[in-house]
Subunit: 159 residues, 2 copies
DNA sequence: TAGAACCCTGGAGTGCACTCTAAGCAAGCG
DNA sequence: CGCTTGCTTAGAGTGCACTCCAGGGTTCTA
């Protein structure tokens, strides 16, 4: 099952509003092919095959290409999209909202503005969350500092 | 389940290791009293009364003081603790882990080191999460920039 | 002293994001 | 040829963090 880790830079180069290629590199993309089995994609993304099928079922991925026997064959564009979805997932964005964005993409040009607004709202959320986390970090620093200080003091001589 | 350990007035011995008062001001604390009803605490914390009772049930709060008729009377120390829990919640820490920390506190001085380690591990997680979010932010910036650019220069004819 | 508004408990229910099951098809191999 | 492995589907199950309910007691206000 181990694939070669030869990263051969793929990058779909459509000049328009395509399904989203991330700025830098999204994933340790394997070879330069363009048809991956579900287990390969599972390995690359860290998602389970179950989850990948479920993503398609709920519309978080548009219908994935199939082999002549009906097996899924994911493309590099699919991997790009999954990379982006992975980022959004880290922000805590509900899956339903990501599905909404995916639908907007499928609906075409007339959803351009709505997509942009959705991304901007997401960005605001991310900034807020970063601020919250930094606040939390300060609290943790304070407490850990306290523990460190108390350790120097007479009490509980630990191992 | 958590029973015994009746105590839990306003707090533990140790010159230092108390139930945790955050560095600055944790919440818009109301008046200077020290006995709040559950609905007051719900209002201050943003948590529901249901959730507050549930927190106590699972041991995320040590047994809350009661009025002579059995109604909960939260103290300022409880509010401090809830403020800290709120911070931890923002980090995505599982409730079970917070319960673990609460248990360590109740167990007393000999858990000092374990508590410190838990906080340090949490801090590492928070730093990691902040880094991830900043990464995500970069992707969002890139995409939004793209949308902004495409808007100025309308091309993109396909469906 | 009534009625509204609040609080109590144990336990059941909800929503989300998976995660797994069952039953079956398809390809590679000794 | 049968075995193993990997894939397919619809649908059921899981774990988490709440969230609510039923059936009662309490407290505040008029």
């Amino acid at each position: 099952m181990t694939e070669t880790m030869t990263v051969t830079e793929t990058q779909t180069t459509s000049a328009g509003v395509d399904t989203c290629a991330s700025a830098p590199r999204p994933h340790p993309r394997p070879e330069g092919q363009d048809r991956y089995t579900i287990s390969e994609v599972a390995a690359f993304t860290g998602l389970s095959a179950h989850t990948l099928r479920w993503y398609e079922r709920i519309g978080l991925m548009s219908h994935v290409d199939r082999s002549h026997t009906g097996q899924r064959r994911f493309t590099n564009a699919d991997l790009d999209w999954l990379g982006f979805v992975g980022k959004l997932r880290l922000t805590g964005m509900p899956v339903a909202d990501m599905v909404r964005y995916a639908e907007l993409l499928r609906e075409g040009d007339h959803t351009f503005d709505e997509r942009k607004e959705l991304l901007e709202a997401t960005r605001r959320d991310v900034r807020t969350r970063i601020a919250e986390l930094q606040d939390t970090l300060a609290v943790l620093d304070y407490k850990i500092e306290f523990y460190a200080g108390a350790q120097r003091a007479p009490e509980r001589p630990s191992a």
